[in-house]
């Protein structure tokens, strides 16, 4: 049974007096533990698809099942609870809270999950050690490099042991050397933790790390291929 199963997902946005179709009936199935990269040019609809996939953006039509749960029928509180339990997010611009230290940023999802302070601190430390930031835990985001900030974001995404990580251009703001380091880290976590990764990108570097490449064009999935074959 796939961990992600989308069927005929459609999404449109109003533009003036008309509506523009961004997603035109996407069907996709992702197995647990897969590292899937969705590639495509700007405006192809890949970020919108990721937002719909996470439940942040409602679909107009179609069925979306993640870990056996139907997202299209959930209300906002149910979606929040679902994201807390099953999903982790990595963004291009890291989206860390600037007033919190690296450790506190990683702890944040566990606060909303109601994990006791001692336990969540241990979990967060362990995760920061795993992403190679054991010596930067008390630093504010402004005191960290771009790559380090993205590592904090990765640790935050993984701290509550989600089954699926959704990453939107995770290397978009990084230089090529740091991009490779981050992708290697993601791949390592994918292998070690068995977490499913869906990465949206237009960077070619990701090709070497994904189990499967899916290309999007004009709101449709046009090609699929396995990079390692």
């Amino acid at each position: 049974m796939p961990i992600i199963a989308c069927n005929n997902i459609c999404k449109s946005f109003p533009m003036g007096k008309e509506r523009v179709d961004i997603l035109k009936g996407i069907s996709l199935s992702v197995e647990a533990g897969e590292f899937v990269a969705i590639i495509g040019e700007s405006g192809s609809g890949k970020s919108t698809f990721l937002n719909v996939l996470s439940g942040i953006m409602p679909t107009d039509k179609g069925e979306m099942v993640i870990a056996g749960e139907h997202l299209e029928v959930m209300d906002e509180n149910q979606l929040a609870l679902f994201r807390r339990q099953y999903l982790g997010f990595i963004f291009q611009s890291y989206n860390l809270l600037t007033q919190l230290s690296a450790l506190e940023n990683v702890e944040l999802p566990l606060i909303f999950a109601g994990v006791p302070k001692q336990k969540r601190r241990e979990q967060a430390k362990r995760m920061l050690e795993k992403v190679g930031l054991a010596d930067r835990m008390d630093h504010l985001p402004s005191e960290l490099s771009g790559g380090q900030q993205q590592r904090v974001a990765i640790a935050r995404a993984l701290v509550n042991n989600p089954q699926v990580i959704l990453a939107d251009e995770p290397t978009g703001n990084l230089d090529s050397k740091t991009s490779i380091e981050i992708l290697e880290l993601l791949k390592q976590l994918n292998s070690e933790e068995g977490t499913t990764f869906v990465v949206v990108t237009h960077s070619h570097v990701v090709y070497d790390y994904a189990d499967r490449l899916i290309e999007m064009k004009d709101g449709l999935l046009v090609t699929e291929g396995k990079t390692k074959e």
């Binding site: 929040a80 994201r83 999802p109 606060i111």
Partner: protein, 433 residues
Amino acid sequence: MKLLDLIEIIWRNMWKRRTRTIFTMVGVIVGCLSIFMIISITNGFEQYLTTSMQEMMDTSVIQVYPNYQSSEGGEARTELTDEDVTKLEELGLFLKVTPKQYAHTLVQMQQLETYISILAVDDYSSIDENKIQIGRLPNTGTREIIIGYEMAKELLGYSWDQKITDQSELENLIGQKIKVGGGSSMIDDKGNKISMKKFSTVIVGVFSSQAKEHAYGAVSSSKFVKTLLRSEIDYYATINPEEKPDMSRLKKYDSIDAKVTDVSLLADAESQLKEMGYQISSAKEFEQQTKLMLLGVNTVLGALAGISLFVSALGITNTMDMAIYERNKEIGIIKVIGGSVNDVIKIFVGEACAISLLGGSIAIVLGFIFTFILNVVGESITADLLGQSITQIAIPTVTLVTGILIFCFVVGFLAGIIPAKKAAKTDIITAIK
């Protein structure tokens, strides 16, 4: 999200924007402090009035007066006689029914002249001897007189707002001969001066300042009071020979003190007496009137202070509303990592309540400090001004403190709920872009 984590988040957010938080809080402090002081002062005033009244009159005593107005319960009792005394005794509600008759007359001591009400007393055992400052009670049936403390001050040449520094001065009054009566005179057709008769009497005692019921008056035997009343009747008979002298005045009482057997019967006894057509007064009635009057004062002043609290509530709403725009990204991140709509509402409402509650708490602490200062300063000022010190000008109560905290919580909640709901509706995608 656990409560302690919520408190930590709220505290961190408030600390981050501490300047704005403090300014917003100042509004709450001013409003709450005003309410705290107004209610504390009226509490103090109420207690002062009630205590003074209780010192002046026995709380179990109803004072019955003639009723010159139309009565709701039927016939108005325009005079009090022995018949009324018997009627009250027959009600079975009263332990003791004491009629009171006064002679309102002029008193002269050397060059000093003043008016005085002399209470007629047959049985001196009804007077508490502990309330005598100096001297003794008059002997039964004599013209001896015991005067009140304020009257003594007046005879010693003090004004009402002055204090007797040396109490031994009062001893000078004991044994002093004074003239009682007179005060009215006229020239008749033949050119003769007709005056009200004067009587010599001697001061044998002075009541203490605690005996407030006698403060400006005096007590003497019933026989002497009747003599004074008779001289008044004779005077008016002389100047109006065509009118028949009204001898009934000798049998009329100015008031009747009715002491209830049990204080719980007071309200019942009061209503029965009103129905019978008497006019009454009691410490309880005075207390009720005082409370009613102070409630009015509290309502007016409280409403004025309430306006400043309302303005501060708007300040909180404005602060929280601005915070939504500033913290748009933060709200988006919280929601995307699993914070629910309720979590966002809790954070925003919690912050508004915290600003309000903290402001209220600071106001309460300041209120206690101001109350302490006011009471210390007020004690010496009232001692100088009134001749007796009021130790508690302002009295804060537990109810007041609890009330302010509950009120602050409600104000904070109402001020925070609209911005909180707005924050919870934040679009995640727009926020985290």
